[in-house]
Amino acid sequence: MKLVIGIVRPEKANDVLEALYRAEVRGLSVSRIQGHGGETDQVETYRGTVVKMELYEKVRFEVGVSDNFVEPTVNAICKAGCTGEVGDGKIFVVPVEKVFRIRTGEEDTAAVTPVL
């Protein structure tokens, strides 16, 4: 079991969702974060104060998958999230020891397989 954490541009979030859907990844969680990488700067002004917006809006995907789903998941995010410009984001794959489905108490692979 792995947890795939993908950080992408907000404007690409819908495309990533769609790509994951096509890759038959059914469970995922999304949150809004801010990130800093190598992007060029964005400067804002407030009444004589100049401010550098160091942080950019990003969307963070968190997807728990069984081991053989890691590759398709990573590929889906990579392809759908890519624009080729600095700031596209990163993917981290983190090992997971146990997964539980709260509704049923099922464990591990059973927990991430959707019941149809």
Binding site: Q34, V43, E44, T45, V51, M53, L55
Partner: protein, 441 residues
């Protein structure tokens, strides 16, 4: 039935031709209409994505700045000066010959009249922004607003409200601006949407209003201001003012009810965005008719006006036309409905001016039809040509990249909502050590 007794004209104590009650009313009405433009900004800002909220609001405020000045410099003269049937002349540019004294035929100071009419021109220009939000360059929009006020609004106001206007000569009834405000803005919006083009995300992503509460509050404040707009268009507390006031309550209320019902019957919920829209549609529908039809006819008009506008709003997003906030449906079409409705339901016993078809005067319907035909054509073509010409000398749209990031950052260097974390202070730099900047190599 009703006779003159039912239509008293209270002239108040007139001294030097000015009535204090009328003046009080018209100053308040003017302030109310001026308040409508920021209310529109709030309404529109709620309907866009949060990354464009400030820009959307700023388009309305920007219109207040440039159109106010344009109005007193030249557009007022073009609209209300004698001139010919099509447009006024330049007798009143820079408010020459305008004084504190009464405007001919009225019991209010001419200055108040100038401001009241200014408020109409301002909001009409601001309305058009709804068609092009989330992508039009702010500077270009300001230039457009000033030119549009002179070239489209002023002539159209002249047509119906100057004693010399060609539609006025044909006895077209337009109480508070079906022609120069509602149809002008609606069909200009259509042209603007076509020239500027669709947003890059349009039809590809779900684009949702970012704050429904703003939309509801904005629409409510618009309704509040509309009492000044319509009842103020009597230019006195007498004549049709009380009637127009009453109808401005009843028509939008009915539209709102009918709209919620349609929403519901279509197997859906009574949406809040729909309700906000309905208030606007109903108020627009009654705008040309407010002082000409009976309260019960206003209820009928309110109900009827919902239907075509609702249909257009449902249908429009299925097309490739990104007339973003549906100015055409809410203003152009509802104004059209209202103008024609007068042709059927005008009632001389209420308006002391003339009847419509149902009260024995079929010719009035023909007159209204002329207005309903001419206004869309002029507004659409004029705006289309104007924007195309502007496009030859300046950029009209923001760069696609900036559209993605949002116009708030791109055009105004700000975000609407922020909590401040992650923003690094650059200037003034006294307290923040420069070493930080230096350490980055």
């Amino acid at each position: 039935m009703h006779d003159l007794i039912s239509f008293p004209i209270p002239l108040g104590a007139v001294k030097n031709g000015i009535d204090s009650g009328d003046t009080a009313w018209m100053m308040v009405a003017t302030a109310l209409v001026l308040m409508m433009t920021p209310a529109l900004g709030l309404f529109y800002a709620g309907l866009v994505r949060s990354k464009n909220a400030l820009n959307t609001f700023m388009m309305s405020l920007g219109a207040m700045a440039v159109v106010s000045v344009t109005w007193v410099v030249i557009a007022y003269s073009l609209a209300f000066d004698k001139g010919n049937g099509f447009i006024g002349d330049l007798h009143n540019v820079f408010l020459r010959h305008v004084t504190n004294g009464p405007r001919t035929g009225l019991a209010i100071p001419e200055l108040v009249f100038v401001c009241f009419q200014a408020s109409f021109c301002i909001i009409t220009a601001a309305l058009i922004s709804g068609a092009v939000v989330e992508r039009m360059r702010f500077g270009s929009y300001l230039v457009f607003a000033a030119l549009w006020a002179c070239l489209i609004y002023a002539p159209m106001a002249h047509w119906v409200w100057s004693s010399n206007g060609w539609l006025a000569h044909r006895h077209v009834m337009d109480f508070a601006g079906g022609v120069p405000v509602e149809m002008a803005s609606g069909f200009s919006a259509l042209a603007a949407a076509l020239v500027v083009g669709a947003r890059k995300d349009f039809g590809r992503q779900a684009i949702l209003p970012h704050n429904g509460v703003y939309a509801l509050l904005g629409a409510s404040l618009l309704w509040f201001g509309w009492f000044g707009f319509n009842a103020g268009s009597a230019l006195t507390t007498g004549k049709q003012a009380p009637l127009a006031f009453t109808n401005t309550l009843l028509a939008p209320a009915t539209t709102l009810g009918v709209w919620m019902l349609i929403d519901y019957l279509r197997g859906r919920k009574a949406t809040a965005i729909g309700a906000a829209t309905a208030i606007v549609v109903g108020a627009v529908g009654i705008t040309p008719a407010a002082g000409f039809i009976s309260p019960m006819s206003a209820i009928l008009l309110g109900g009827l006006a919902a239907i075509p506008s609702y249909a257009l709003i449902v249908w429009r997003p299925r097309t490739r036309l990104d007339e973003t906030l549906d100015v055409l449906a809410a203003h152009g079409l509802a104004g059209f409905t209202g103008i024609l409705f007068i042709g059927f339901f005008a009632q001389a016993s209420w308006n002391l001016t003339g009847n419509g078809l149902l009260f024995g005067s079929p010719i009035q319907l023909g007159r209204q039809a002329i207005a309903a035909g001419a206004a869309p054509v002029y507004a659409f073509c004029g705006t289309f040509i104007l924007l195309k010409l502007m496009g030859l000398v300046m950029r009209i749209r923001v760069h696609e990249r900036d559209e993605g990031k949002g116009l708030d950052v791109g055009q105004h260097g700000e975000e609407a909502y922020t909590r401040g974390e992650g923003a690094i202070l650059i200037r003034p730099e006294h307290a923040f050590d420069l070493e930080y900047e230096g350490s980055a190599k």
